[in-house]
């Protein structure tokens, strides 16, 4: 009798009412949906990559990988060189701007207006940036299309990425690290340099990868800045010569522009193959760069943090 009483009294522990049952059901549906959506994206990415790379593999011929007019060698070099130049410009400025916003700019109006300016900059259509670059870096300077102008145009696009990732990384650091350093007699700058920047390497590297990706893939901003032609003579190493590969003030068509041109304007029979091979090479470059940057960032973090306990 008493046992029965106790049992029936504890029914409230065993009971799952309709509302809760529905909540559980929704929980399972939501979980399944997220799995399906993220799985679909991964599949899409893999399929796309394989499609592009497979197209490239089929198009392979020694001719295409040559540094001649019908190959993609020169464009490959131009792409690497342009991304390198744009990172040389945008990484120091972007990190400095992010640090300034996070650490020096007065909170409130200054940071807010800077943020709005940066967000606007990052949402500019790249063709607008390209035409702006054409006006400012080419016409106003009274020069011809050149790689350096292209790098400047790409820097305008990639600066906001590096600035915001640096800013966000600094803002996410525990305030205790900053106070701890200052309390030990470090100046503000020493604190930034020795504690805050090393602790932000990972997120900043993400910004750099995004910025480089922008450079690798950019076409519209380069149309009227870096130009649509490339004329390199690999035996000329006088940097002032317009055909020297390392001269940044020569026109330099990149891979993505070459893809675009081959698919739209080219008349030669091999244009399709060139586009396929260039796309594949571009994709592999971005992948290699991302993985390399991640490894570098992990190495730097390990060096600064010490080994894991």
């Amino acid at each position: 009798m008493t046992a029965d009483m106790t049992n029936s009294n504890k029914d409230y522990l065993r009971n799952v009412d309709g509302g809760l049952r529905r909540a559980h059901l929704f929980d399972e549906i939501a979980t399944a949906t997220f799995y399906i959506v993220s799985g679909a994206f991964v599949l899409l990415l893999i399929a796309f990559t394989l499609y592009v790379v497979w197209g490239g593999v089929q198009a392979i011929s020694p001719e295409i990988f040559s540094f001649s007019e019908t190959g993609i060698g020169n464009q490959f070099f131009n792409t690497v060189y342009l991304v390198f130049l744009s990172l040389v410009i945008s990484v120091p400025i972007g990190i400095a701007a992010g640090v300034y916003m996070a650490e020096y700019a007065p909170e409130g109006r200054v940071t807010n207006s800077l943020r709005i300016a940066i967000e606007t900059l990052s949402s500019l259509p790249s063709i607008v940036v390209g035409l702006f670059g054409y006006l400012v870096f080419i016409i106003m300077v009274n020069t011809q299309w050149n790689l350096f102008s292209g790098a400047l145009a790409v820097s305008i696009l990639s600066l906001p990425l590096i600035t915001t990732t640096t800013y966000d990384a600094f803002k996410a650091l525990p305030i205790g690290w900053k106070h701890g350093s200052l309390a030990l007699g470090a100046t503000h700058w020493e604190t930034i340099w020795h504690v805050m920047l090393p602790a932000s390497v990972g997120p900043i590297m993400t910004g750099i990868i995004l910025a480089a990706g922008r450079g690798f893939g950019e076409a519209a901003a380069l149309l009227y800045t870096a130009g649509m032609s490339t004329d390199i003579n690999w035996s000329v190493w006088d940097i002032t010569s317009p055909v020297c590969p390392l001269n940044p003030f020569r026109p330099g068509e990149t891979l993505s522009l070459q893809v675009w041109a081959s698919r739209t304007e080219a008349t030669s029979a091999s244009a399709g193959d060139v586009a396929a091979a260039a796309s594949a090479v571009l994709m592999i470059m971005v992948l290699v760069f991302s993985i390399g940057a991640r490894l570098l960032s992990r190495h730097l973090a390990k060096k600064s943090e010490g080994e894991n306990a």
Partner: protein, 269 residues
Amino acid sequence: MYNDSVIGVAAAEADMPIRSNLSFTCSHVNLYYGSFQALKDINLKIERNKITALIGPSGCGKSTFLRTLNRMNDLVPGCRVEGEIMLDGVDAYKDVDPIVLRRHVGMVFQQPNPFPKSIYDNVAYGPRLKGITKKSELDEIVETSLRQAAIWDELKDRLKKSALGLSGGQQQRLCIARALAVNPEVLLMDEATSALDPISTAHIEDLALELKKKYTVIMVTHNMQQAKRIADRTAFFYLGEMVEYGDTEQIFDHPQEERTIRYVSGNFG
């Protein structure tokens, strides 16, 4: 007026100048955050080689007062300090660069805050800022500081490991070692045990008792038992005022002020 040149312990060492037995002398200290007055006319003399506890309810100004001593309040926008804070007879606000002051007045925070660096690099951080680069010299400072913080034996085989992998109690002792490595005279502890378990707390309390032989320790604590256990002198703060200051026993057993009586007996209303 008080006599500022009482012969202290340091006088025993022949080549040392005769030092006052006072570390900090604060007169008429007022502190404002914008228009809000957080400290009201604080007059307090901190004795050398003693543990001084600052107690009082949340928001009473005890932490704010602690941070005036190493000028960490300078970092707060809109914060203004009036009055005089003398360290060893020198005006800490007029005649001392804040960077120099902080090298002489170390601080341990409520939350352990080791840097995301190796244990070794955490302790060597301060000395390196002072320009010490020689490895043998740094090695020695790291070992001495970790020994003083009673954590050398636990950590000596893992100096290259990340400090973030340590337990909370270990992290806090590492932070004490990091503060001691710049060779300060005063150690400020801002509720340094409130995030720790009882065993780690006991470690830190033992450590404070050991450290007062060489350093002056000033601690903010919410834990009145802790003040009773280890502090020589106790100051009771309430609503920005320093209500009463005296020997710890006196404050807890024979408080003079009505507000102190109510606070230490736990009947605060």
